[in-house]
């Protein structure tokens, strides 16, 4: 990529005078040319200052004040809000739940996404068969989270079809309150998130698989490598950059998941599915304590920035 990013001027040997009409370039022209890219970037810059820089400064400032938004003259309280958040046992429940929810989701997204991508990429299948199954496998990804949430509330209802199937197979008594029972709620929302999210992995891995040169496999076959060896020594190393990118993006996004949990369990029962985003949201818009919520929001931001650091480093390394 870096090769195509070089400026046009750089491709001309140094010292050689520019040809054609460009020859009448004066210093004013050069300054204008140097400023042009900033001109093109200015709408983005303005938007990022309004939508990103300002809010982050504001939320950090809020987190050191007491009674922001709700009170007319908030007082500076230093780290009190942070101490209060860190002393709240629900915060630690939310951290633990976020880790469980995110960890299981990402591993399952990867496993299912890779398995489906490998099946769809099999040379044993005709193009039509592939197209049909690919469309079916992408389906969950086409529904907004709000739809996914109501759909699974219907399916997992105590009188719903999942309980009917489990009950008639004799696996449960057929009356499980999947989302309302503290012992199953977190796993149930995680399962829903797995269902909704694996296609993103699958599509990217499928594109990656199609980009692996066939002669690599042929060479391996000539050397007597079996299917498993080909998978371990060709497929996985070739997909590694995609896998790392997707895993980091998925970690970032899943750890920030809000609507799915909000619409299925609301963080309950008894905080069983409370994650950092629902915890923060409730502080702000249920308790109207925007100062405490800001402190929690800054903590969430710092955790995300750790992941972002690895993501940026990985992306830059690939250029």
């Amino acid at each position: 990529m870096s090769t195509t990013l070089r400026p046009a001027a750089a491709s001309r040997p140094a010292g050689e005078p520019p040809r054609g009409r460009a020859a009448r370039r004066t210093p004013a022209h050069q300054i204008r040319r140097r400023l042009t890219p900033y001109g093109f970037l200015s709408p983005t810059g303005v938007l990022l200052i309004i939508l990103m820089a300002t809010p982050i400064i504001m939320v950090v400032w809020y987190s050191f004040m007491d009674g922001v938004i709700t009170s007319d003259n908030p007082a500076f309280v230093g780290f009190d809000n942070y101490l209060e958040v860190l002393a709240n046992p629900v915060f630690y429940t939310a951290v633990r739940n976020t880790f469980v929810f995110t960890g299981i989701s990402v591993v399952a997204h990867f496993t299912i996404g890779l398995a489906f991508a490998l099946m769809l990429n099999s040379p044993l299948l005709g193009d039509r068969t592939k197209g049909l199954f690919r469309a079916l496998y992408v389906l969950p990804w086409l529904f907004t989270v709000a739809i996914v949430a109501v759909l699974w509330r219907l399916l997992l209802n105590p009188n719903g079809v999942v309980n009917y199937i489990f009950g008639s197979l004799g696996l449960t008594d057929g009356q499980t309150e999947w989302l309302a029972n503290p012992s199953s709620a977190l796993l149930a929302v995680t399962f829903i998130n797995i269902w909704a999210g694996y296609p993103f992995f699958m599509i990217s891995l499928l594109a990656g698989l199609q980009g692996i040169p066939r002669d690599l496999y042929e060479a391996a076959r000539v050397d007597g490598a079996g299917a498993w060896q080909q998978f371990r020594n060709i497929t996985i190393p070739q997909l590694r950059p995609i896998i790392i990118s997707m895993a980091l993006l998925d970690l970032i996004w899943t750890s920030q998941q809000f609507p799915l949990i909000w619409m299925t369990t609301g963080g309950g029962p008894i905080n069983a599915t409370e994650v950092l985003s629902t915890f923060t949201y409730k502080l702000a818009f249920t308790s109207y304590d925007f100062s405490l919520a800001s402190a929690a929001a800054v903590i969430v931001l710092l955790l995300s920035m750790v992941l972002a650091f690895f993501y940026v480093r990985h992306q830059k390394g690939r250029d």
Binding site: T44, V59, F258
Partner: protein, 293 residues
């Protein structure tokens, strides 16, 4: 072999396939069907429930096709002006976000793709990392800002804030697309005395339609699906979008499951249509953006 099975398209066993391969293929198809059940049966159930009268939603044993097939749920949604307003709001907001995002991102992508300038790497890193900032962190100051700017409960309030999600991705994807186009194209116009704006809008943009489509579709989807900001930055029923409308249905009186499912089906129509129309662009563009920044 793929060629021999492709025209029929039936997932059956090709007799010309050598015997050991045939066993493998049968196993593969069995696995594919199991996977398809996992991915699609819930969706099928949603579709079937939307055609049931509400009392039959939890009928035991469950029936995929109800005896009393009815379109009542769809009629109820489509004749209710409040719910139609949810759809109108979602379309207005998502389309505005798409147009604005495309315009701003094309300009930025042009700078990234065609110029070298001081601070380029830093700006690039900022744009990549902006994608990782949690929406919940932005929500609290946005609430303060939007109220202060009198944009609370308005279209511009949502349109503006949605751009924080759509813009970074769009810039990265568009830059990637422009990088695939030879620079001689726009340099040629510039040698003839035209400015960079002409080069961009007259030369690059017209030949970038596939890139614009995939960025546009993706942007539309993000805006159409957004939940958290729509929930918090609007208040009255006439400003609510489809995802919030679905949630409101869930809170209202008794659960009208059939109506919720019908609204969900209607709510995924635009995304489904876009996906079917632009599948190839879409998957290609999405992976290009997500995978090689």
């Amino acid at each position: 072999m793929a060629v021999t099975t492709a025209p029929t398209g039936r997932p059956d066993i090709d007799l010309r396939t050598p015997p050991p391969q045939r066993g493998k293929k049968a196993a593969l198809l069995a696995a594919l069907v199991v996977g398809a059940c996992f991915s699609s049966l819930p969706v099928l159930w949603m579709l079937s429930s939307s055609f049931k009268p509400n009392p039959e939603i939890f009928a035991s044993p469950p029936r995929l096709v109800s005896e009393t097939f009815s379109l009542d749920a769809y009629v109820a949604i489509l004749t209710d002006t409040v719910k139609l307003r949810f759809f109108a709001n979602s379309y207005i907001i998502a389309l505005s976000v798409t147009v604005l995002t495309l315009t701003v991102s094309v300009l930025a992508a042009y700078a990234f793709s065609r110029y070298d300038f001081r601070g380029k790497k830093t700006i690039n890193v900022v744009i990549i990392s902006v994608q990782a900032v949690p929406p919940i962190t932005l929500l609290i100051p946005y609430f303060g800002l939007v109220v202060a700017l009198r944009l609370y409960n308005t279209y511009p309030g949502l349109i503006l804030t949605y751009m924080v999600f759509t813009l970074p991705y769009a810039i990265i994807m568009m830059t990637g697309y422009f990088n695939t186009l030879p620079r001689e194209l726009d340099e040629a116009v510039k040698v003839d005395g035209a400015g960079p704006m002409t080069a961009l809008w007259r030369i690059l943009v017209p030949i970038s339609v596939p890139g614009l489509v995939s960025v546009g579709v993706y942007t539309f989807m993000i805006a159409w699906n957004e939940f958290l900001f729509a929930l918090t930055l609007t208040r009255t029923e006439d400003m609510r979008t489809v995802p919030i409308g679905i949630q409101l249905l869930m809170g209202q009186h008794s659960y009208e499951w059939n109506e919720m499912m019908a609204m969900s089906i209607l709510g995924c129509v635009p995304v489904l249509v876009l996906f079917l129309l632009f599948q190839r662009f879409f998957i290609g563009g999405m992976t290009a953006g997500a995978v090689k920044v």
